[in-house]
């Protein structure tokens, strides 16, 4: 009996470490897509992420889902919708009639698409800024990180400005005290979501202050010439 008990004890002692080596079963990461854990892990990926923010600036998916891209906020849709609001123009397309006659409201698809596009740009710019800051000094040099951040902040300022033009009262009215735009942050936790939803809308002048901060940083850190 004794030797058998000893054999059991030996077996278990040899066995238990094997059990804990199974831990790697839990430590897997997706192979099929890049995640926030690795999106800013190399210099080339950082450059790609920056291009992604530019892409978000020219256009993102339309309100119908994830199939078509019409170019909101600053791409093709911006140009032709702006034309339809301009002068020296006669509209013969039923689709553009509501823009031409200014009979749109806050639920019109084009307005929703503009709002959605602007905020997706702002969110992607924020994700980019946070990523570049974390990669600064390591994966990319602090000068490069500052430049990338500057480009994102410039785009963010453009988005805020366009948002004010489209959705808020002019600065001249009430000297900028009217309601401006909702705030935003890098949203990826329930806490962030709740804090954003409980933050009141900024005033118009508050938004302009943000724009100026972003533009000042961009002015200081953008290079003299483009990369291309």
């Amino acid at each position: 009996m004794n030797t058998i008990m000893n054999k059991i004890k030996m077996g278990l002692i040899l066995f238990i470490p094997l059990l804990f080596s199974c831990k790697k079963v839990l430590d897997t990461s997706p192979y099929g897509s890049i995640t926030d854990a690795s999106a800013f892990s190399t210099a080339s990926k950082c450059a790609l992420a920056l291009n992604g923010v530019y892409d978000a600036a020219q256009g993102d998916y339309y309100v119908t889902g994830t199939t078509e891209n019409r170019g909101y906020p600053f791409g093709a849709a911006n140009i032709y919708q702006s034309d339809a609001r301009g002068e020296d123009l006669v509209n013969i397309q039923a689709f553009l009639q509501i823009t031409y006659q200014a009979t749109y409201n806050s639920t019109s698809a084009n307005c929703v698409a503009m709002w959605k596009g602007l905020y997706e740009l702002i969110n992607k710019a924020n994700i980019g800024i946070a990523g570049f800051r974390s990669a600064s000094g390591g994966v990319i040099s602090s000068a490069t990180a500052a430049q990338y951040e500057a480009e994102c902040r410039f785009l963010r300022a453009m988005a805020h400005h366009e948002g004010l033009l489209m959705f808020a009262r002019p600065y001249l009215e009430n000297s900028g005290a009217s309601l401006g735009l909702p705030g935003e942050a890098f949203i990826n936790t329930t806490a962030a979501v709740n804090s954003i939803l409980s933050t009141p809308r900024m005033s118009v002048s508050g938004v302009y202050d943000k724009i100026l901060l972003d533009l000042d940083y961009a002015e200081a850190n953008l290079p003299a010439a483009s990369r291309y």
Partner: protein, 1023 residues
Amino acid sequence: MRKLILTLSVVLCFVLNAAAQDRSISGKVTNEKNAPIEGVSVTSPDGKYGTQTDKDGNYQLTLPASVKALSFSYVNFETAIRSIGKATVINTTLRSADKSLEEVVVIGYGTQQKKAFTGSSSKIDVKEMSTLLTPSIDKQLAGRAAGVQVTTAGGLANTPAVIRIRGIQSITGNNNPLIVVDGTPIITGNLAFATNSNALGDINPADIETIDVLKDGSATAIYGSRAAGGVILITTKKGSRGRSKVTYEGIIGFSSPVKKFDLLNAAEFKTIANEKLTNAGLAARAGVNTSADAYDTDWQDLVMNKNAPNQSHTISLQGGSDKTTFYFSANYNDQKGIVISNYNRAYRVRMNVDHELNKFVKFGNNLSVSRQQDGDQNNGSNSLGGAIASSLRLLPNVSPYSATGWEGYNITYSPTGTSTNSMAIGPNSQSVDDNFFNVLYTMKKNKLYSDKYRFIDNAYMELSPIKGMKFRSQVGIDMFNDYSYTGLNVFHGDGFLTGTSSNSDFNILRLVWSNVLNYNKTIKGHSFFLTVGHEAQTETAKSLSANGGSLTDPFFIAENYITGSGTSNTINGTYDTINGILSFFGRLNYDYKNKYFLQGSIRRDGQSALAPGNKYGTFPGVSVGWRLSEERFWNKKYINELKLKASYAKVGNTLGGYPYLTNFGPRNYGNLGGLGPTGVGNPELVWETSIKYDVGIEVGALNNRINFTGDYFLNDVNNLVIDVPQPLSAGIPGSIDLNGGAIPQNIGKLENRGIELSLNLGIIRNKNFTWDLNVNYSQVNNKIKSLYSLGGVPVLQIPNGNYNVIKTGEPINILWGYQSAGVNAANGNPMFYKADGTLIQLNLSRTTGTVGNFYLASSKNDPVLGTLSSLTAADKVNLGNSTPTYFGAITNSFDYKGFGLDIMLRYSGGNKIMNYTRQEVLFNQSFQNNGREALERWTTPGQITDVPKLYYGQAANINQTASANSRFVEKGDYIRLQNVTFSYTVNPVALEKITKGYVKSRFSYKVKTYGYGLSIKEQILTI
């Protein structure tokens, strides 16, 4: 559609043995009360020698020395086998085989006697199912266990059934039960790329020894994280010592649809189609070309199988020696579905071997290798090539064939002139609307095929170092490989002008390693049974697919993509590590004198889908039981078994993928590469947990001739993972319309509560005639208790598709749509109620108002249009519960001198079904065929009917397609004859006397009808 299947099944059983010297064996056979049993059949295993006991239970036999065992059998008792050593007197006690509490329940990582089991579980009678013609067991589970609801969609041969145990447990998570075969959880689901397929079809039902369904928390807690939807434990057959047995089982059947949709014939179609057009102010189009041939085509008939032969052949070999036992089986199964291009062929081989090295060490291996071939057709509800979708709409006055058409079919492809992707207009002035194809041509010429190989192996080693202790280590490998091919014809259909040839290869590998230590000890009436263990599971899925378009020659769609055959090629690949799980568990069962029972279990699971720091969850469970019938004060005269039990447990639900990570995808900026987030994850996600309560009673009366079990259960599901849509200003990718992109969060609670009742009655038990009745009834009430809050404001309902919502205080997925108010008898306008009860009508008159607008109506027969109104999403109301609240089955089994009759009735109800086919297809307002309901449409003022006026092009407004409409909501209650089986069993002893040989056989002729493809009555949105 429903199918009628006639089956003929033949089971032959050969028993082999050898011969030598004679000796005389005698003895007495008694029952458990020590009373003698007369007429017990005492035979040698090969059937060569036999006798029966006399009225004192005594028997005497002269046997050669080669006969090593005796078999004692009698109706309604368990057959006992006693080996003959040197003894010449062998007495036996036979145990009653009534569904008694003597049976053994398979629980997680072990077995337990049913009388000691304090959880809630159902044992499925596998023998009743083994002679039914189905390729997989999931479809035949319906009605066989209380609390287990099984629905099958359509009449396709290869779609898996949907199994729900005690209701729907999750909104976005997994609702399927965990299926464990021989201790290893196996891959299940509809996984092939090109066709439907059923991964559970790789297990041959003839190989199954027992099926146990674990339903409550305490039974499932040992499976911790994956047990939220219940657990189905399947044990396959093992070998047997001492004698070899060869069994052949053959089943042949013929299936035909029992019910088709009621459609218009050619003459009726011409009237209805032209009326739609003239009401809209357009010229008639049907039958206007009188010089062309007119036909009356039944498109449904053309695409459906009639008397399609199905067959299944299994040969199995079971045997072994003292130390080694084996079970081997080989099976071929050929099934046809309701549609002509649909078939499933399975080839399954199993080899189970167990070997005892010495009294301390045992090891074994269960290996199953199978191949399933599935052929299908594009059957999606939105796809143009779908067989049923097309056959309901195609015009009945055109023919599928044409003497002048390409390849003899009525299609307008021409190698020289202009070709279109349609049929010739024939007697009409246009072809069918919405580009539907000649479905007969596409079904015969397109190829959708998948070839799947499955390899499941469980290897185990068992050590028994000291008495009462057993250690078992088991490794399970489950590998699934799918080769799928889609070839779309270039002359007509989805592949028009380009042709498509695409292949995909998809591979899943799952590895499970479990180590379990069991220890059994009894001290003076106190029994302890301890189980401790560890399990690790990992699964990887990868695929590669290639798609060739613009084929150079239509020859290349027959088998496989060939290099160079297409000029536009795309390649796709995926690689995923699906959920890795690591668990530690322990369970202790204690009972005192088989009277008082206590069980506790605890399991700690980690899953890879959650963020580091949140990966682990702890799942405890406890249950108690009290066998009142064992108390001294209890008089066992009438009620011989009475047990009360209660249990509480917490189980979890695994998630898939990596919901805690934010994903980035390619977002190219012009011609520059770019990366952008495509979805935002939530690193705070934790386990979805379910707390299960159960109280139950088990009663056995009149010496177990009456068996009753009743359970009341409550499942409280917490931390439901729901994709919470954020406001658009959060900028989360994936938004649609006014709903911003979603982040998965643990928010939401739901509960399921209900009762399960199960009754077995041995109504008549005579020597020649027996009548058994089995009734089960289950009731499940589901309620959403809370959803999430946005900015502090609780959200009370969220949409789930176009027809259902998830609303607090209601069952999940209630139908949410417009309340129809019938038809205005004065002008045929369809009427609706707005949310505040106002009556409005849709104007279908070209002489007043605008067609397609809603106006107020003063009553249901006033032709005057009121002021302009509207019907908006705010007017939608609750149209009923979409999941059944009660279901069950009643089975009667009769046996008279070897002739057997089994009748199973299934019933279900408490739900409403949104008949989407009636809304979208049968009452369409396009140039397409209609259902016969269209004949009742409004035509003259004053006519009272439920079917509105026809109006070409106004289907979206008349029917409110893409929303639920109460005009099409039907009651889902039904009671249906599920199986009728008539069989004849030849008495083995009589046959042996007649044939004077060593052939023991059993012939049965079975006539069976069952409702198989429940496409009308069971259009339930399942999640």
